[in-house]
């Protein structure tokens, strides 16, 4: 059934251009508020927690990209330019609301206190990595921080977030789920499936689209013909807001309001954050082949960190000394953490077969036994796998 509407007696087409979606913005680039704008009620502690997480993310990304370039790390992927979107949205949630992210949202983990060692253990896939060295760098997960382990396939987390939030609604504990994704991922079928199901079942979920201009090399003009992602919400009769994604105050305020709709009224919300991926897609990508330096420079002028820092300075909550100290401290801690993670052994060979099921099936246990025997015979050929096997056995087998 559609809503009752008047009928017409000649064909009348609509394109959606009838709807104009404004962009919610509070903060100018110089750190002052737009005329008539009111800052959200953030305490100094809250504001500094946000800024420190954003700064941490920026420094982490710089250091780890450099480590990748030095060959210490196989792969890396930066959040640079999108820190306000990710950290601002996370700050508006309860710390036990679920986050189901895409892969560029390390700022959310930083905000929730994921430690440098926890980041490094995942990046280096060592024995202490929660994921046991099974996924590429940046596929973080933390049950303690309510951050679902990252999965590479795009958009799969979006309908999962709807199911997760449905469970939260049944449990009635006043919690919600936020799912992050890029404007490119929003082309996937899973996105549309998810929005429709969330709206039909009235689920406490926030869909946060980071419209950062590019899906690897594909610009938005080749990704969709409409006015961004936001108008899609109309098709599902869902609350939607477009926000300046580089404006920390606007992102925070918009997500705070979205959370109220979700948790208090079981209304799902779509937030389209307009931002820009200042870095390459990943360490394997070079944007020089598909976008201009002028374009990048123009967006660098809209840096979300610079904007928030100026606002903090206007409040008298942060100054140059704080900035320098924070930067130096972070660089030192990250470097030390990286060295610690590099020294850790790889996960044991037996971790290849655990967690496929809750218990290792007999046929898989046989496969592991055969592999262990093989590695024992050729320990030099499999140096990582041989680490976990006892030295005596390896030496004896190696001598055969």
């Amino acid at each position: 059934m559609t809503r009752d509407t008047s009928s017409v007696h000649a064909p009348q087409f609509m394109t959606g251009d009838e709807w104009q979606i404004p962009t919610f913005a509070l903060l100018r680039q110089d750190g002052t508020l737009h005329t008539g704008a009111e800052a959200p009620a953030l305490t100094q502690d809250q504001a500094l927690r946000i800024y420190r997480a954003m700064r941490f993310t920026r420094v982490l990304d710089e250091r780890m990209l450099a480590a990748q370039r030095q060959g210490r790390l196989s792969f890396y992927l930066q959040c640079t330019g999108e820190e306000a979107t990710v950290v601002g949205a996370t700050a508006a949630l309860r710390d036990d609301d679920m986050i189901m992210a895409q892969y560029r949202e390390q700022g959310a983990l930083a905000y929730r206190g994921f430690s440098i060692d926890e980041f490094m253990n995942q990046l280096f896939g060592n024995a202490l990595d929660y994921g046991k060295g099974r996924q590429m760098p940046i596929h973080y997960g933390s049950a303690e921080r309510y951050y679902m382990t990252i999965s590479s396939p795009l958009a799969t987390q979006i309908p999962q977030a709807v199911g997760y939030a449905y469970g939260q609604k049944l449990d009635a504990e006043g919690r919600c789920t936020i799912t992050f994704f890029g404007e490119g991922a929003a082309s996937e079928g899973d996105f549309h499936a998810a929005l429709n199901m969330a709206s039909v079942h009235q689920v406490p979920v926030i869909f946060l689209c980071r419209n950062n201009g590019y899906a690897i090399s594909t610009p938005v003009a080749e990704q969709f013909a409409a006015d961004g992602i936001a108008p899609r919400a109309f098709g599902y009769r869902m609350h939607v807001i477009r926000v300046d994604g580089n404006d920390i105050l606007a992102v925070y305020q918009a997500t705070l309001a979205a959370r109220r709709l979700a948790v208090e009224h079981n209304k799902p919300v779509l937030i389209e954050a307009m931002t820009y991926r200042l870095a390459a897609h990943s360490s394997s990508d070079d944007p020089a082949g598909y976008r201009s330096q002028q374009e990048e420079a123009a967006w660098r002028e809209k840096d979300p960190l610079a904007r928030m820092r100026l606002w903090l300075e206007h409040q008298g909550w942060w100054d140059d000394d704080d900035e320098r100290r924070r930067e130096e401290q972070l660089r030192g801690e990250i470097l030390a953490g990286m060295k610690r993670a590099e020294r850790e052994p790889p996960p044991p060979l037996a971790s290849l077969v655990s967690d496929v099921y809750d218990q290792v099936p007999p046929a898989l246990a046989e496969q592991l036994a055969a592999l262990e025997a093989h590695v024992r015979r050729y320990p030099d050929h499999y140096p990582r796998g041989a680490v976990g096997l006892s030295d005596g056995d390896a030496a004896k087998a190696g001598g055969q």
Partner: protein, 325 residues
């Protein structure tokens, strides 16, 4: 014990599961007030409310994506895909997500509470898109369990075990047997083991293996062979993944001959895996080549369905050829 058909047994299993655990949630296309196109979920919404048994929009990838999230959150998600022929839009969610959820997170998160029920198989004049047997696609995916029941008693016990198993399970229901298969089913709550085959009939000359809707076919073939003086041991594999290699190997050690039958096409069908594993295990005990009696390597047909299907006569011919090799 009560006499009932397979649909009634499945409906009872869902009822018992929902009654015994408030975190069991059933959903899918038409499963709500209508009770499913085959009526497997009849009366569940009336009994347990719309929050626990409901219709979803018509979007398989959404149903399974939603189910993955609900299971990760800690509920027992029992999703129905209306026909196995329509499971492919959800292939990514099943193969890349359900199957890898625990492994990729190092067991921080899992979707062990997930069960996907779906009717499969031919013999109902369903053509390409209401007849397929896609179990082999999923058997190639570590992390999943794949289960197929052969009769009402098995269906109830295996479905209850699947819903409660701490791993994601695909439960393929042989829709040709939904109403055709009836029998005695225990009242109340019971489970049958996953990952274990069952020797349905003992015999000494040849081992016959199948699962689901193919079981009555090979049982009929075994009776026909019996009249010719050939004694067949009949085994229901029950779980395709993980599968019970020991049970089949034990039987083949005794009989020296093996015939496997499934409706799905020959090439890459699950019989190929069984044949490879058993010849490795039982090589010196084999008296004849392991034979497969299956569908053709074609899409599922319509008018010539009877000719396409691996019926009892084709199985009997394979038994004779094996014995006379």
């Amino acid at each position: 014990m009560a006499h009932m058909n397979m649909l009634q047994a499945i409906n009872q299993a869902l009822d018992v599961a929902m009654d015994s655990d408030p975190r069991v949630i059933c959903f899918g296309e038409d499963v709500g007030g209508f009770g499913g196109v085959f009526r497997a979920t009849s009366h569940l919404q009336e009994k347990y409310g719309k929050a626990r048994c409901f219709n979803t929009p018509l979007v398989e990838q959404g149903i399974v994506g939603f189910a993955n999230g609900l299971a990760a959150q800690g509920h027992k998600a029992v999703a129905e895909i209306q026909f196995a022929d329509y499971i492919y839009p959800a292939f990514d969610q099943i193969v890349n997500e359900s199957a890898k959820f625990r492994y990729r997170s190092g067991s921080l998160f899992d979707v062990g509470g997930l069960t996907i029920r779906t009717p499969y198989g031919g013999g109902i004049s369903g053509g390409h898109y209401h007849s397929q047997s896609p179990e082999a696609y999923f058997a190639h995916t570590p992390g999943l369990k794949v289960v197929v029941p052969r009769n009402p008693h098995q269906a109830k016990g295996l479905l209850l075990a699947s819903i409660r198993d701490p791993n994601p399970v695909l439960f393929f229901e042989p829709k040709r047997l939904y109403r055709a298969s009836s029998g005695e089913v225990p009242e109340g709550d019971y489970q049958l083991p996953l990952g274990e085959a069952e020797v349905v009939k003992e015999g000494g000359d040849l081992t016959l293996v199948a699962w689901g809707a193919q079981m009555p076919i090979i049982e009929e073939a075994a009776e026909m062979a019996e009249r010719e003086g050939i004694s067949c041991e009949v085994i229901d594999l029950r779980s395709i993944l993980p599968w019970d290699r020991d049970c089949i190997a034990e039987s083949v050690f005794k009989t020296g001959r093996l015939v496997i039958s499934h409706e799905a096409p020959l090439t890459g069908g699950f019989a190929a895996e069984i044949a490879a594993a058993i010849q490795q295990r039982c090589f010196l005990y084999l008296e004849s080549p392991i034979a497969r009696v299956t569908g053709l390597d074609t899409p599922f047909p319509l008018t010539l369905e009877k000719e396409y299907l691996p019926d009892a006569l084709k199985v009997l011919e394979a038994i004779r050829a094996s014995v006379n090799f």
